[in-house]
């Protein structure tokens, strides 16, 4: 069971993540879009979207810091444990709250506004549900365990297991002892990655940074064959008429 959850599931999800993106990129360029709905509603979006996106950047950065940077590196850099903990907990709480506020506004917008409700797809609903679950579990872990509770040092267990997944040495025993909320958050995280390529989240990979050094006006030659020249409508009409000169 442990192997199934902490070894098979992560690899299966990562495989779906990679294969899903390859499939979507090759077969659905037309669907690869932010799917903006600002045209239909911009009042709530004006606040909700920047909050959500900035919060998400902070949260992703925080996860990278906590999961990818080993504790030995920070201590080698001379960062004391209590300082790291304070930055992680308070930074995580603040960015998390920004993300939650943005998410609430975006979901409210989809529920309250009839125009937005109509264009919300089934996959959008799945995505919002997944995001909500992930954010709730993450906030519970950060706020209830680390801010208000006695704390849990995920850097010695979860982070080591997480990195191990990528070295192909996942230590399942490190996860079995983790608190339930952390376990659920980790499982949910991998499931969320598996969901990613099939949602509008693919727009993340199209962040248009190349725009900064591209020439303004783009020229491009036509692709594909040239259609045969068509006769003018008058010619078609005249050709259909019986010729008066013929007997």
């Amino acid at each position: 069971m442990n192997t199934l959850i902490w070894v098979v599931l992560p690899y299966a999800c990562l495989a779906v993540f990679v294969a899903g993106h390859v499939w979507r990129w090759r077969h659905d360029q037309f669907g690869w879009t932010t799917h903006t709905s600002q045209l239909l509603e911009s009042r709530l979006l004006r606040l909700g979207s920047p909050l959500f996106h900035l919060g998400a950047f902070g949260v992703i950065g925080g996860h990278a810091m906590g999961l990818l940077v080993p504790a030995s590196v920070t201590s080698a850099l001379g960062i004391p444990e209590h300082l790291y903990h304070a930055v992680a907990v308070w930074g995580g709480t603040v960015t998390g709250l920004v993300l939650v506020a943005g998410l609430i506004l975006l979901i409210a917008r989809r529920l309250v506004n009839g125009r937005i409700r109509r264009v919300t797809t089934r996959m959008d609903k799945v995505l919002y549900a997944g995001l909500t679950a992930m954010v709730l579990l993450g906030m519970t872990a950060t706020v209830a365990k680390n801010l208000l509770g006695d704390g849990y040092d995920y850097r010695e267990t979860i982070a080591v297991w997480f990195r191990g997944v990528f070295w192909f040495q996942p230590h399942t025993e490190l996860m079995t002892g983790a608190p339930l909320v952390y376990q659920l958050h980790a499982i949910g995280g991998f499931l969320f990655l598996a969901l990613w390529p099939f949602t509008r989240l693919v727009h993340v990979w199209s962040a248009p940074l190349a725009y900064l050094w591209r020439p303004y006006v783009v020229y491009r030659a036509r692709r594909g064959p040239v259609p045969p020249p068509a006769p003018a409508p008058a010619e078609v009409r005249d050709a259909a008429r019986p010729s008066p000169s013929r007997p």
Partner: protein
């Protein structure tokens, strides 16, 4: 010098009766799909009026087009590239669908499905195409038709003129303004597109959106000062007028031109020097932009230009077609066509012969003889209202340039009247407008007789790169999900 070809259009506004046939046939061809209900690649609006979408000409509000920064460099009015990337999460300059209008449909089914024996006649009610709920229709793409409603006085062009002028203006005249994408030489939409999905076609300058590469960042919509790029809210991608490129490639006019009842549209090639575009768009004085853009064009009858085109690999029939281009004649030879809002600095390529009718109406209202050349000339120079208004639309406020064009149109009328009625050649009129008798009569033929083959001089497309022939598409490029072909497969009827 780098010579390029541009397929361009001119519309003769005096002949537009506002019948909307262009709009309707365009919509039937391109935007009768879910997500584009509110989209009119071609719309006809009444001037004075606030237009479609509302107040699109107010660039203080929408930040469309280009401007010069403090150092005199050309920058997009919506700010730097970084600012646009910073606004990806929410675009502060994007019009809402209510600035266009909420599209509606009617529950016509009730007329046949209502139970019998009712005392009241069943009535079909409007329903929103966005929510499906019943709604009141309070705005549309042409709500102000023929000065209907109170909004004409809010025209952004009138705001630049005095209060007293406004009232007098409305009493005096109106005209219709059909608008499509301008297929600009210096397109702001292409320049603002973060994904590089929008492009100017190498061979004929048509501006298109690559539907596969558009990621829905919606910067093109706000950057276009003419508001002629739209969001398809069903597909989440940008769409715009394509200048009916499948027809143009086959040598046929666009559907709006083909079906124009007034026969007021002209299509043809223009040669221009790509290297001169940036400098022309960057001249300091707004009023100098018209002449700056004219100077970018190359005379298709000049043997040196023809040789340059040949050297650049242009096909021979394109060189012939450019020399016969009615668009070049109206813009470059007779110089009676003017661009729409040159002060946006996009170097638009759909030009207009401004309407003389406002001046004739004003002459009549002032008790003058609208058939007398002198009276009309005086009206043009005395009555500032019509000319000033037309100048704010077509010449960035340069009343001299606008008046010069109107003088030519009035002169042509008077000259041709004298010529037709008693065969005299009114030399004093020719001297006054600085044109030869041959030129005026050719111009008259192009504007008034307007034969099909003279209005549309469109060479067929050529395959420049033979290698691409190998990768020929076998299906229609428009036949995709959400596209105008809508993924339908049409089985050809077997011919006997």
């Amino acid at each position: 010098m780098r010579i390029r070809a541009q397929m361009a259009m001119v519309m003769n506004l005096d002949k537009c009766i506002g019948c909307h046939t262009c709009s309707v046939t365009c919509k039937q061809t391109w935007t009768n799909r879910e997500g584009t209900e509110y989209v009119w690649f071609n719309n006809v609006e009444t001037k004075p009026g606030i237009g479609y979408p509302k107040f699109y000409e107010d660039q203080e509000r929408w930040k469309g087009g280009w401007k010069l920064d403090r150092k005199g460099r050309l920058v997009l009015r919506s700010g730097s590239r970084l600012r646009r990337l910073g606004n990806l999460f929410v675009n502060p300059d994007l019009p809402s669908i209510d600035d266009y209008y909420e599209p509606a449909t009617f529950d016509k089914d009730i007329l046949v499905s209502a139970p019998g024996g009712l005392t009241d006649t069943p009535v079909k009610r409007p329903h929103s195409r966005l929510t499906g709920e019943p709604m009141a229709i309070t705005w549309g793409a042409n709500w102000e038709d023929s000065l209907g409603g109170p909004t004409a006085q809010d025209d952004p062009n009138l705001a630049k003129m005095g209060e007293t002028v406004k009232f007098e203006f409305e009493k005096t005249f109106l005209f219709h303004l059909p608008r499509i994408c301008e297929h600009c030489l210096n397109p702001a939409c292409v320049s603002a597109c973060p994904s590089g999905a929008m492009y100017k076609r190498d061979e004929d300058g048509i501006v298109l959106v690559d539907q596969d590469r558009c990621r829905g960042w919606r910067m093109c919509v706000s950057a276009c000062p003419y508001k002629k790029v739209y969001v398809n809210h069903a597909t989440g991608k940008a769409e715009k007028c394509t200048l009916c490129f499948p027809r143009i490639e086959a040598g046929q006019p666009t559907i709006c031109s083909e079906t124009c009842v007034g026969r007021l549209r002209y299509l043809g090639l223009m040669w221009y020097d790509e290297d001169a575009v940036l400098a022309a768009a960057s001249v300091e004085d707004d009023a100098a932009l018209l002449d700056a853009q004219r100077s970018v064009f190359l005379d298709p009858n000049d043997p040196a230009v023809q040789q340059a085109a040949r050297d650049a690999g242009m096909p021979e029939d394109w060189i012939t077609a450019a020399a016969a281009s009615p668009v070049w004649k109206l813009i470059g030879e007779y110089r009676i066509a003017l661009p729409l809002h040159p002060e946006y600095r996009t170097l638009p390529m759909v030009w207009y012969v401004p309407p003389l009718s406002p001046v004739l109406d004003a002459a009549g209202a002032a008790g003058r003889d609208d058939t007398d050349a002198d009276d009309i000339f005086h009206t043009i120079s005395d009555l500032r209202i019509p000319v000033e208004y037309l100048a704010s639309i077509f010449t960035a406020g340069d009343t001299g340039a606008a008046a010069g064009v109107l003088m030519k149109l009035a002169g042509m009328r008077s000259y041709m009247r004298a010529r037709t009625l008693d065969g005299t050649v009114a030399q004093e009129i020719l001297d006054r407008i600085g044109m030869s008798a041959e030129q005026v009569e050719a111009m008259y033929r192009l504007l008034a007789i307007a034969k099909y083959a003279e209005r549309y001089v469109i060479p067929v497309a050529h395959q420049r790169q033979a290698a691409e022939l190998d990768s020929q598409l076998t299906d229609c490029a428009l036949d995709c999900a959400g596209g105008p072909g809508m993924g339908l497969t049409i089985t050809p009827v077997a011919r006997s």
